[in-house]
Symmetry: C2
Subunit: 331 residues, 2 copies
């Protein structure tokens, strides 16, 4: 097994302060490795980075069209949103259209990352609900599929028809038998794969065609939905949203907990997957920027890039304290 | 240079998800290495873990006694507090007793980590001020010393008498010439040293005597102040506070940004310093617990320990999702 390689460094006062190592693979539509760092065979949990894979059965089954889901809703099904008003309103409306409500969700509640909504809750003395959960869009997709399949309410259980369909789709597009699963923060199963397998699945999405078979068409539509509605995939100020806008909606990208990041690049028919070994999100954001710049689809000088790569760190008085950049030998 | 070693692992669904590497040294009163992992010579920024070193001139100069500082104030001078009411009230009173106010601080403002105080500010439509800065106690100490020395107001500048005294004390107790400095989040200079140097300084504190010379007595008093007032050093729910209580106030410990942690163990006349390479705080907290358990001064079964080591990770619905524990070969 190849060791992870240094990918991102934090410097302060001319000295190296912290280092992040990781694995990354750029894959082509045939599943071949275009370029790799660290160990392509390293087994990882994709966490939220694979939400577009988890949404494939929603479209392939016909459930999305039967429910009349919009492109914005498809983007939300692939989202780790920050519980801002645009997200909570959209999920509330979606559930209502299904004849369901917040209590049908199985994702749990947490304080939203959006500070406006957080402050609104505090001022109104309200507790956050499951709709604020960053995964509530994915779960609305699961509910839509469960209803279409006339399956039971416990849609996050491993043997539920929804999760069985997700696992089948996941293993087919990664082209690997998953070595196991964990339970995600939102209670859904999360299937493990190699970094190569995850990159391969992203290349499948990149090469997908509107005129293809049901799976290819599903992947095509999900990619376009994410790229067209970046604000639904994360939220204002967040990496996924800002970087998809910076790439003029031509590339779909997605972060996952514990520092996973993926990219789908239709124009190049390429997919990227990376994992920072220690789970540090600042490093996965910097590393995906570096790879997207390397492939010529992201402008290194764009403010959304510079916020995350070659980032000058400033303290509470605005003084420059350090800089975050790629490690020598990585991009 | 020896590579950092795996110290802390996060497991999910029976698979390794994330790994943190680091360097650690346990040092005796003679400056010798009792035990080490990774590279004792690795250069690090101690960040806030060295606040008790930065407070030495405050006591040695006579400034603390001239100002009549209490033991709680000495603990606050070594603190990274969370801006709770007990901290902000204490700093406000301290500044008032100096005939100074919030505007004399040079640490900058940030939202307090204490959620009660954060919510109070939101409900009152108030902005946080410099007193909320986690370093405002250290800065009150700097101001106390600056006034005693009749030095100017820009006490965080490198050539100010306060910082010159800090640098001299820092280099003498680490027994190293600092290879450089960076600017900390609170705008004060932060001097680099080796992990061994930082551990050596902690062993000096551990062996310090009330009946010793001015420096030894200063180190003795600061250690006792931290251990006696753990709630002033961090705050409710925080690692430093909970673990010092768990050790019955017999050990002083301190965290620093970018995953540094130190411990002063008077009963063993030993000091510990560790740095997690990637800057991940969850790992520095787990690693210091493991080392304190190893030295027999912390109970592995105490809830404060179990919250940070062998920690079962639970999701928003309370389901077990993973576990954080030490890596094989580390403690």
């Amino acid at each position: 097994m190849t060791a992870p390689v240094p990918m991102v460094e934090l410097w302060r006062g001319g000295l190296l302060e912290s280092t992040h190592t990781g694995h990354a693979v750029i894959c082509d539509a045939g599943g071949g490795i275009v370029e790799a760092w660290g160990d392509p065979a390293a087994v990882i949990f994709p966490r939220s980075s694979c939400k577009m894979l988890q949404a494939l059965p929603l479209l392939e089954s016909g459930a999305a069209d039967a429910a009349g889901l919009t492109q914005a809703q498809l983007a939300l099904a692939c989202a780790s949103h920050q519980g801002a008003a645009i997200h909570t309103h959209a999920v509330t409306d979606w559930l209502a259209a299904l004849g369901m409500g917040e209590a049908d969700l199985r994702c749990g509640s947490h304080v939203p990352a959006d500070t406006d909504e957080r402050d609104r809750l505090i001022l109104a003395h309200e507790a956050p609900c499951q709709i604020h959960n960053n995964c509530s869009g994915k779960h609305s997709g699961f509910l839509t599929l469960a209803r279409h399949l006339k399956a039971g309410p416990e849609y996050v259980e491993l043997d539920h028809p929804v999760q069985r369909a997700v696992k089948d789709a996941f293993e087919e597009v990664t082209a690997e038998t998953s070595p196991g699963h964990g339970i995600d923060g939102c209670s859904a199963p999360n299937f493990a794969t190699s970094v190569h397998g995850l990159a391969r699945s992203m290349a499948f999405f990149a090469a997908a065609e509107d005129a293809g078979d049901a799976r290819s068409r599903a992947a095509y539509r999900l990619t376009r939905a994410m790229a067209a509605f970046p604000e639904m995939v994360a939220g204002e100020g967040r990496a996924c949203t800002e970087l998809m806008r910076a790439m003029d909606h031509r590339v779909a990208i997605k972060t996952g907990a514990e520092a996973v990041f993926v990219a789908i690049i239709p124009a190049r028919k390429m997919g990227i997957a990376l994992k920072i070994t220690d789970g540090g999100t600042r490093a996965s954001e910097a590393a995906i920027c570096a790879l997207l710049v390397r492939l010529g689809v992201l402008d290194a000088a764009h403010p959304a890039t510079q916020k995350r790569l070659n980032t000058v760190q400033r303290n509470w008085r605005g003084f420059e304290t350090g800089i975050l950049h790629t490690a020598p030998g990585f991009c």
